[in-house]
Amino acid sequence: MIEAKNIDFYYGNFQALKNISMKIEPKTVTAFIGPSGCGKSTFLRIFNRMNDLIKDTQMEGECLINGQNIYDKSINIDNLRKDVGMVFQKPNPFPKSIFENVAYGLRVNNMGDKSFIGQRVEESLKDAALWDEVKDKLNKSAYELSGGQQQRLCIARALAVKPSIILMDEPASALDPISTSKIEELIHNLKNQYTIVIVTHNMQQAARVSDNTGFFMLGELIEYSNTKKMFLNPEKETTQNYITGRFG
């Protein structure tokens, strides 16, 4: 369960998020939509504190994950990021073998011995629907894979450390339609085990994969509700205009 309370976020003097509050239920898929620069990716990166890496930023408000304020001083950020996995917009496998890419999270977190790692790598690749395509070339470089395969590898890499939440920042925007539909199918299957939050530019994608949708504009959360309701019968006119493609 993720609970954001009154979050403000600043890049220097620019306020990117304005007083955003939101609750995300476990084992659901939540989509963030909105025009470029609306703050949806910034908000996503609040949940695993990736914004900490950017200089000269400031955050106010609280973000609770399972009741714990993740911005509390006592929080271990590495443990937080292990529990809140992330898949990035552009596939970013490490310049290592396919096997080592998936094993990486297990190794840096000291999770298990050799046989356990081998087993987790296989499970994760199966969960990411990539196993059959790579099982004979686990020691080949990850960069021999296609873009779509690389992205599924990055998903497998995130799954390997058993997070409870997976953040996806436009995971299919750099992929062709077939790879995209594979990723969407994957998201659908992963929902049983993980809480998934996905940022997307593609409204059809949001409608297809998500249970709930948040619509952001100019740093504000305009509307947040059940996806079906949002797309069939939005409350606000701005939302209506955006999803019918009148601007964006």
Partner: protein, 277 residues
């Protein structure tokens, strides 16, 4: 004048100067190669100088240069790579880093004789190492430190930020990210910098002049507090202050050729590494 004519004239001028520069370089190398190859033999590479340096070989100078290269890089390589890691991975983009960068660049353009003088004052006299491989290595190490820092920084900066983000997002610490992802990815380019430094160190004369180099030694150095002969200084000696300059001239060409070959081979290895990555 029509466009085509002016274009042809421009190309001709570029081509002329291009060929001229390459021609000058090749004639230098050719001249040394032609004169040097005539004295190079197995004996030349493996024997001590004989008869007032008019015959024999340059073995002790080769060995000395080897010691100086190894000694200086043992000191400068880890130090340079670590400071590059600090400036690129930890220090951010503030004014401290800017000052460090400016200083590093300044350091790189200080004449090498100044390093020699500094090395003599600090290592030879103040720290009392005497004229020794240790003092010479440290002086040469200081000289190549900026080169190593700069090439390592460039190597680290060339590692995509997305690798770092991917690693941190999996719960890796910053140190783990640097050790397991960033450094391996930058390795090839860092090694390129190392090899270029080998070329630089083996060719420098001024820094070793007051800190280690010996005119002639009858035996090889046996420890880091011994003096050593070195190729560039030996070349200087052969060309200016032998017992019989005319007679030792061929030996000088041979020495120069060996030195050039070492630097050339190092640069070739470096460009091989760079191409591979």
């Amino acid at each position: 004048m029509n466009k085509k004519v002016s274009q042809n004239i421009a190309f001709f001028i570029f081509k002329f100067f291009g060929v001229l520069v390459i021609g000058i370089l090749f004639s230098i190398i050719g001249f040394i190669g032609y004169n040097g190859i005539q004295v190079i033999s197995w004996e030349f590479l493996t024997e001590f100088p004989k008869e007032g340096m008019t015959s024999g070989g340059i073995f002790p100078a080769i060995v000395g240069t080897f010691y100086l290269v190894v000694g200086s890089l043992i000191f400068a390589f880890p130090l340079g790579v670590m400071s590059a890691i600090y400036t690129t991975e930890y220090a951010g983009k503030g004014w401290i880093v800017r000052i460090i960068r400016i200083m590093t660049n300044n350091l790189a353009s200080i004449p090498s004789i100044v390093f020699g003088l500094f090395g003599m004052a600090l290592f030879v006299n103040k720290l009392n190492f005497g004229d020794s491989i240790l003092a010479g290595s440290l002086t040469l190490g200081l000289l190549v430190l900026p080169l190593i820092i700069r090439t390592s920084e460039e190597a680290l900066l060339a590692v995509p930020q997305s690798y770092r983000e991917g690693s941190l997002a999996l719960g890796a610490t910053k140190l783990q990210t640097i050790r397991r992802i960033v450094l391996p990815a930058a390795f090839g380019n860092i090694i390129t910098g190392l090899i270029l430094s080998i070329g630089r160190v083996s060719g420098e004369t001024a820094p070793i002049l007051f800190t280690v180099a010996a005119y002639f030694l009858p035996k090889l150095p046996s420890g880091i507090f011994d003096q050593a002969m070195a190729l560039p200084y030996h070349l200087y000696v052969l060309a200016t202050s032998g017992t019989d300059l005319e007679a030792s001239r061929p030996m000088a060409y041979g020495t120069a050729l060996v030195l050039i070959l070492i630097v050339l081979i190092m640069n070739l290895i470096a460009s091989f590494f760079r191409k591979k990555l």
